[in-house]
């Protein structure tokens, strides 16, 4: 049988999932947490607590600051020490709420038992409302507010819910462990999202380097089928291991054989994609009243002595996590938040975790140091690797020439920043560095043009409307 995967490009970096055997483990609560007010795509949340306030675990700290925003909850109990700027992992200032921890006192309405709640609420609106109140955001990396994603614009119909369990990034294993240890919750979460969207079919897509997870989830799905009609229509799909399978657009291509148009959304082709950890967060928010206050983080790297998959309270300083496992190893040269392909290099280890933090990866200088750049040999490996079918060598050249028109014509704005081009370039040309700059520039130009067109259309409308007004 041919193994299913996405149709264009992709690379095969070494799997390196050395922490796959480590069970999920709760990290002790740190003495102080720093909870950022902007942990999602969109407007930062507005704080509703003041300095000196006593807060409990699960209490709302901040309310959405706009349509595209999310609730932020306290992950600990204690006293609000300050609300102000603090350096994030890239060294830039970000607004955070600092809480000094006192005990572990939870909000009363949170169900902290392990009992599975399999009954799915009847009303989709109530599910979405609970997701919103739980501050759930996409945990696959983009931290897109989930309640916004589950409310498709009018006229758009969802045909298929895809639960993303690919975890195509090397090293990371937190999704894998979640599937193995919290598979029931993930499947119930899937059923909840399915209900919220009113869609008949859901696919849990898992790469075939995680056979245990595929088997386990298949079993869970079969077992839950008897619990209610909401559980029918959920399928488990095994996909060939290839990076970036977990990219939203690539996953839709792999599962549904459909491609999202440039500038379009998954819903345009009838798809909604959510990560397995998001499904778990949805389960906890809807069935257990537990907002998104902790998430699973893989701490790994060949040079790191103690591999772990930890459940970490949001806002825990990275230092605290690392010290718990024995501190930064001497050989480590780089610490990455996330996976080695798309993760962000950490410049400041005093920064705190956020909802979207999925991994802490330690790499040695040999593993990660960039090789010196040499001439392009026009081998076309970058174009072969690009999962969007772009030609990075060409975009690089155009970006250096500053030709924004040609960049747009060659679809630089479609770049998903997966890093396949730079990963595969034999000459070590920093393609993605240059292309991501050009992408930002071109997207800025496109936005400005769209805004101007909109203003012109409105002006035309107004002038067309004025004669009748007379």
């Amino acid at each position: 049988m041919a193994r299913r995967t996405f149709s264009i490009g992709g690379v095969h970096p070494a799997d390196s999932k050395i922490s796959r055997g480590c069970k999920l483990e709760y990290l002790p609560i740190p003495p102080t947490v720093y909870i950022a007010l902007s942990q999602h795509i969109g407007a930062p949340a507005k704080p509703v607590v003041a300095v000196g306030d006593k807060v409990k675990v699960g209490q709302v700290l901040a309310e959405p600051g706009g349509f595209m925003s999310a609730y932020i909850h306290s992950s600990v109990s204690g006293t609000v020490k300050s609300i102000g700027p603090r350096k994030d992992l890239s060294g830039n200032n970000q607004m955070v709420v600092e809480i000094a921890v006192e005990g572990d006192d939870w909000m009363e309405d949170i169900d902290r038992t392990d009992t599975l709640v399999t009954d799915i609420p009847e009303d989709p609106k109530s599910i979405i409302e609970k997701i919103k109140l739980g501050g759930v955001v996409g945990l696959g990396g983009a931290t897109f507010p989930t309640h916004v994603k589950l409310s498709p614009p009018p006229g758009k119909v969802c045909e298929m819910l895809i639960i993303n369990g690919c975890e195509c990034e090397p090293y990371l294993t937190s999704d894998f462990r979640t599937l193995l240890e919290k598979g029931e919750q993930v499947v119930i979460g899937t059923a909840l999202i399915k209900k919220a969207l009113g869609v008949a079919k859901a696919t849990i897509a898992i790469e075939d380097n995680k056979l245990e997870a595929i088997e386990h989830i298949q079993k869970v799905v079969n077992d839950l089928k008897s619990k209610g009609p909401e559980y029918s229509g959920i399928e488990v799909l095994s996909l060939m291991k290839k990076y970036p399978e977990g990219g939203e657009k690539q996953l839709i291509d792999a599962v549904m054989h459909r491609q999202v148009k440039s500038g379009g959304l998954p819903i345009d082709v009838g798809a909604v994609v959510d990560n397995v950890c998001t499904a778990l967060a949805v389960y906890e928010a809807v069935q257990k009243n537990k907002p998104l206050i902790d998430n699973s983080v893989t701490v790994t790297g060949e040079c790191f002595p103690k591999q772990a998959n930890l459940i970490v309270r949001v806002g825990t300083p990275l230092n605290y996590v690392i010290d718990y496992l024995g501190g930064v190893p001497e050989e480590a040269a780089k610490v990455i938040s996330g996976g080695p392909m798309m993760g962000k290099s950490i410049a400041n280890l005093e920064a705190a975790t956020m909802k979207g933090t999925g991994g802490l990866l330690f790499l040695t200088r040999e593993q990660t140091k960039r090789m010196p750049e040499s001439n392009c040999i026009r081998c076309g490996k970058c174009a072969e690797a690009c999962p969007m079918g772009l030609e990075p060598f060409l975009l690089n050249r155009l970006a250096k020439a500053g030709d924004t028109d040609a960049l747009e014509a060659n679809a630089v704005q479609d770049c998903i920043m997966c890093g396949c081009c730079l990963y595969s370039c034999p000459a070590g040309i920093p393609l993605l560095d240059i292309i991501s700059q050009a992408r930002g520039q071109v997207m800025g130009i496109m936005r400005a043009r769209a805004a101007a067109a909109k203003a012109a259309a409105e002006a035309a409308k107004a002038s067309a409307g004025s004669p009748t007004a007379k």
Partner: protein
């Protein structure tokens, strides 16, 4: 044999004539009518096509200048007043002289003053580095040192000093086109008035963080203490977002702020004599002391007046309320 030669010559000549005619006709057919003054103006321009004027190049500038009703929105920073005089003459417009400007680098976080906290391993480009993180030092506002400004300069007026790791502007070559200023993602480079004989005073720091952290990140940063603003007698210094800024329109080049700055973030350049900080400090302190005394005296006097006047005022008030 002879006929072959004759034929060859005839054919080649005929072909040549035919092609020449075609070229002539095409040139005639597609001739672009243009105001002849555009060419004159363009000739008067420096021809660097740097875009410092805000137009795509010298031709675009000339085209726009010819069509414009006046020269208010057209100024060539490279050619300066002299070029603009010529342009104004050609077009018969009035021109207003502008002060010559120069690019000024407002960061003095040298390698020794600003210790590196991380090692950057990406493309040598300030833009890429700035979008990745705050920078490889503790200062999130300072120069990133990858030389985007050097690459942007079309006149070879900026170079990186390997000693300090900071860009240096060659005032002779700088045309104040502003390309470096636009290229800098941290907005460190500012176009400032060149000043009489090149003398100018500026705050060489843009760090907006609060005092203690700033000092830790960089020994020569502006910590926003405000001493300079208090010292200035010309109202030229404003303190905003924890960083001082000298308004070059108001600055009288007295160098008092430079002497008073505790971190040496204020720089004075091209002055004929080196600054005598102690003398200026003594002068300023003396003046401030006098001012304080005067203020105290004035307050005393005001109080005395108030005491003297108060009964009368009270009287008036009482009457008013009664009335």
């Amino acid at each position: 044999m002879t006929t072959t030669i004759i034929w060859t010559i005839a054919i080649i000549s005929g072909l040549g004539l035919l092609l020449a005619l075609t070229l002539y006709l095409v040139a005639l057919r597609f001739k672009v009518e243009e105001d002849p003054r555009i060419e004159l103006v363009e000739k008067a321009m420096p021809g660097a096509n740097c875009g410092g004027c805000g137009f795509a190049g010298c031709h675009a500038f000339a085209d726009s200048a010819v069509k414009a009703p006046n020269l208010d929105n057209h100024y060539c920073p490279v050619g300066g007043n002299e070029t603009m005089k010529k342009v104004a003459e050609i077009l018969g417009y009035e021109m207003t002289e502008k002060d010559p400007m120069v690019a000024v680098v407002r960061c003095n976080g040298t390698c020794s003053a600003r210790p590196r906290t991380s090692e950057y391993d990406g493309t040598l480009s300030c833009k890429v580095k700035a979008s990745l993180y705050a920078g490889d030092t503790g200062c999130a506002y300072g120069c990133l040192g990858c030389g985007d400004c050097v690459a942007a300069c079309k006149f070879g007026a900026i170079s990186m000093d390997p000693e300090t790791g900071l860009p240096v502007v060659d005032e002779e070559k700088c045309t104040a086109c502003g390309a470096c200023s636009k290229a800098c993602p941290k907005a460190i480079i500012e176009l400032r008035k060149k000043g009489p004989r090149g003398m100018r005073e500026y705050v060489s720091c843009v760090n907006k963080d609060k005092g203690p952290g700033v000092k830790k990140a960089c020994a020569s940063a502006c910590i926003g203490c405000g001493i300079c603003a208090k010292t200035c007698t010309h109202d030229a210094i404003v303190l905003e977002n924890n960083v001082a800024y000298i308004d070059f329109g108001k600055c009288k080049l007295c160098r008092e702020c430079e002497a008073m700055c505790p971190t040496g973030a204020i720089h004075g350049v091209n002055f004929p004599k080196p600054i005598d900080k102690d003398a200026i400090k003594a002068r300023v302190q003396e003046r401030q002391k006098k001012a304080r005394e005067a203020a105290a005296a004035a307050a005393e006097a005001a109080k005395a007046v108030e005491v003297a006047v108060k009964p009368a005022v009270d009287e008036v008030k009482k009457e008013e309320s009664n009335g």
